[in-house]
Amino acid sequence: MPTLDQQTNLTNAIDAIRAAEKVLKQQIDAANDPATSTNLTNEFNKIDSLLSQLLQAQNLADDASFTNATAALQSHANTLKTDEAKIKRIVGDVKIAAEVISYITQALAFIAKL
């Protein structure tokens, strides 16, 4: 079972990922061509799969399962670090891209503390 600190970090990571998703969704809603929408949706899905793992970890009761889940989370989180350049390219707007990256960075920081 996660400790109180771990649970707090999980919750904060979830909230940060949701914040990134909301900004990306606004971009998808505004997109007017299939290629842009596809790229943005794929990025959204990548972030969302991290959210799914966080939700799984949140519900785990035994320590061994939680330790395994944490390791998998941190490994997955590392793959998102390389997405910064891609996000800047597909989002287009520099400010909005920076906002998304900021939320993802926050989430990764919370995951690193698990």
Binding site: A31, S37, N45, L55, Q58
Partner: protein
């Protein structure tokens, strides 16, 4: 008061007095019976409301599991539609990982703690000789109590886990020993804090589940939007029908976060209804119990609109 021992010309008056006395006793007996029947009716409504709330909550848990399964399939389908080499099995079984079947069963037992408590109250109110639990109910309550004694219920906030399990032990103790309570308000009052603890946990789980539900709905919406853009390019105005279909699918496949909000209101109403029973001397129309039924009806209506 007329003396009762004189007969003859007072015979009729004697009979009248006796009739009056008998009538007074009969009426007071009827009033007593009416009060007893009112409490039975009130507790029956409470029991009905609790069971309905439990059913609505289970429905929401099922929707959470179904949303994860749908989400996983649609993501695969979206990747496949883009030409990625992914194994698309239209009949692939789903294994839930966010709310697993084992976790689902534990939540089910938490709900059973509340419904069995409501049932115990109802048997107390019935006033019949048979106030014992059925063998099945007794087994279930004992099973739940043993799980709680082993700290088998995990709270969303880890520091609340011990209190949650203690609350379940206390409620199940009352269920197993409910016959020693003489009045409904005594029993209801005895578990009010523990009932509040259990309901708080169910509410916290709903709030957590909502975050997952919201993201899954948005993910599907994004994929639909992308597909619609492509359809518009190739089919032009004919793509309108696909837009309508996507909109309808979105509403029916993924439950709204509103469902969880309403469920939590119903749970709050359940706690308030028990609190009102803890204070009630007689039965009758208790607003908190009417509110419980009303809130649950709304939760059920929302859940059904998502099917």
């Amino acid at each position: 008061m007329y003396p009762l021992i004189k007969f003859d010309e007072r015979g009729i008056k004697v009979k009248t007095v006796l009739f009056l006395i008998a009538t007074v006793f009969l009426l007071s007996g009827c009033a007593g019976m009416g009060g007893f029947t009112q409490m039975q009716d009130t507790v029956a409504k409470f029991d009905q409301g609790v069971h309905s709330a439990s059913t609505a909550q289970m429905s929401l848990f099922h929707q959470v599991q179904a949303a994860e399964c749908n989400r996983n399939f649609y993501k695969l389908a979206f990747d496949f539609a883009q030409g990625e080499k992914v194994p698309l099995d239209l009949m692939a079984p789903c294994t839930n990982t966010e709310l697993t079947d084992a976790q689902f069963e534990i939540r089910q037992k938490l709900l059973a703690t509340i419904t069995l408590y409501a049932d115990a109250l109802q048997t107390l109110a019935s006033g019949t000789d048979d106030t014992n639990l059925s063998a099945n109910s007794k087994n279930l309550v004992t099973n739940i109590q043993n799980l709680a004694k082993q700290q088998g219920f995990t709270a969303v906030t880890p520091s609340n886990t011990a209190a949650l399990n203690t609350a379940v032990v206390a409620i199940t103790n009352l269920i197993l020993n409910h016959v020693r309570y003489k009045e409904i308000r005594e029993a209801a009052s005895a578990v009010q804090p523990e009932l509040t603890t259990v309901v708080a946990e169910l509410k916290a789980e709903n709030l957590n589940d909502v975050k997952g539900l919201a993201s899954k709905k948005e993910t599907f919406a994004n994929e639909c939007k992308t597909a619609i853009l492509s359809a518009r390019d190739s089919k032009h105005v004919a793509s309108f029908l696909e837009i309508v279909e996507a909109h309808n699918n979105l509403q029916s496949i993924f439950p709204s976060p509103q469902n969880a909000d309403q469920m939590n209101k119903a749970l709050d109403a359940l706690v308030a209804a028990n609190q009102s029973l803890a204070k009630a001397k007689n039965g009758g129309a208790i607003p908190e119990i009417s509110d419980l039924i009303s809130q649950v009806q709304r939760a059920v209506a929302l859940a059904n609109s998502s099917k």
